[in-house]
Symmetry: C2
Subunit: 220 residues, 2 copies
DNA sequence: CCCTGTGAACCCATTCACAGCT
DNA sequence: AGCTGTGAATGGGTTCACAGGG
């Protein structure tokens, strides 16, 4: 379930704050969702709650981590050492959350050898060797859109079975490979859409308040 | 609709490639979705298709851009000039896709004044002035988790009405503010979950093939 | 004849509501 | 009494299937 990571984060925060027990109601409020949904989601892990009391925060954190496979670190390999690849590698957030960068590769000779976030950029031909030596299962595509499919193919050929795609392109992979896509521009476009609607609404209100003498049906 | 940006991207690529007309079937294949869904989504824009023929690619691109409010650029302001903020600012992708970085702010004195991606880091107290001078509607939160709520409050106070939150925290905003959350760690955790399931499946297969004599119910 | 546009059927996630344990 | 766990009801999004226009 895609909400488990969210619960994990909330529960971890509560645990840090010294909370040892939590009800579905409280957790739902923190996450801005329905309490019944929380209970359904958590019941999927097993019956780990205590009726009349709630859930043990620490135990729940452990169970979610186990379910998500977060009992050990997962090294990732980044394909593409351009702006985005450098950004992701330099951003320490991956390692902090249990996903250290185990390698970065690129096709461009001039990028190879430079060190970003403590990791040296290597040639994409070395991808299989990097993946196998560090037992890497997750690859990150940080190439321009047109190169994304090649990057995905290279990752799959190297033995990676999960792909996080930041490139603005849809990649095709064989069955059995997990792909997730994060497109920063798409997120902004969705916000732009909301802004656009707000702007239209303001305009409509204005037109309604002061109907122009030559209004061509704009108020309809 | 959250799929319009995807169609826009696909259609733009097709247009670049010289395709002038496209059927819902073709577009559906490119996007990996159902053709009926494509038609429903596009019909929401109006009846812009031609029966028996398909859709005019260029016209459709224009209509989607209009609907998404992409007829002009939207400047964004980034809060947080740490690793992630620098990464996002240095990454040229925002500007390329119509969302140039109009400012970066931080609370830390030592970050202020440095230039990232051509933009100078300024103090968060100047946020309102930056937002108003450039008429910025979209703010990006790139702070550590605990500072995210403060960043959101500052953005809203400054007049921003849409927020893209990269911090690992849920932020509360007044009604009427659009918020989207992108958590890179969550994406990786979801992939980790898939990897975990694959690992479990492999283990189960192995146990089934060669049942251990002292198996403690693992094969159930 | 081909493909769009759309009512109707379907499906699955969400929510409700309450039985049951502590 | 309080809160979990879950069958039943709800609702929204997806898919089907076909009428209708080019």
């Amino acid at each position: 379930m895609a909400r488990l990571p969210v619960y994990l984060q909330l529960l971890s925060e509560q645990f840090e704050a010294g909370i040892t027990n939590i009800s579905s109601e409280e957790l739902a409020t923190l996450g801005g969702v329905n309490a019944a949904k929380v209970r359904k989601d958590l019941s999927y892990l097993g019956s780990y709650g205590t009726r009349g009391v709630g859930y043990d925060v620490e135990f729940l954190v452990f169970q979610i981590k186990r379910e998500l496979g977060l009992t050990h670190e997962w090294h990732v390999v980044i394909v593409g050492a351009g702006n985005l690849g450098q950004a992701l590698s330099g951003y320490g957030g991956f390692g902090e959350r249990g996903f250290p960068v185990g390698g970065i590769v690129d096709v461009a000779e001039d990028k190879i050898g430079s060190v970003i976030g403590g990791v040296r950029v290597r040639h994409i031909d070395e991808l299989a060797q990097i993946v196998q030596s560090r037992d890497i299962a997750i690859g990150v595509i940080a190439t321009p859109g047109p190169a994304a499919q090649d990057a995905a193919d290279a990752l799959v050929a190297a033995g990676v079975t999960s792909v996080l795609n930041f490139a603005p392109a849809i990649v095709n992979t064989p069955h059995g490979i997990s792909v997730r896509k994060v497109d920063l521009a798409v997120e902004l476009q969705i916000l732009s859409y909301h802004e656009q609607r707000r702007a239209n609404a303001r305009q409509a209100t204005k037109l309604q308040a002061v109907p122009g003498p030559r209004g061509r049906g704009a108020s309809a």
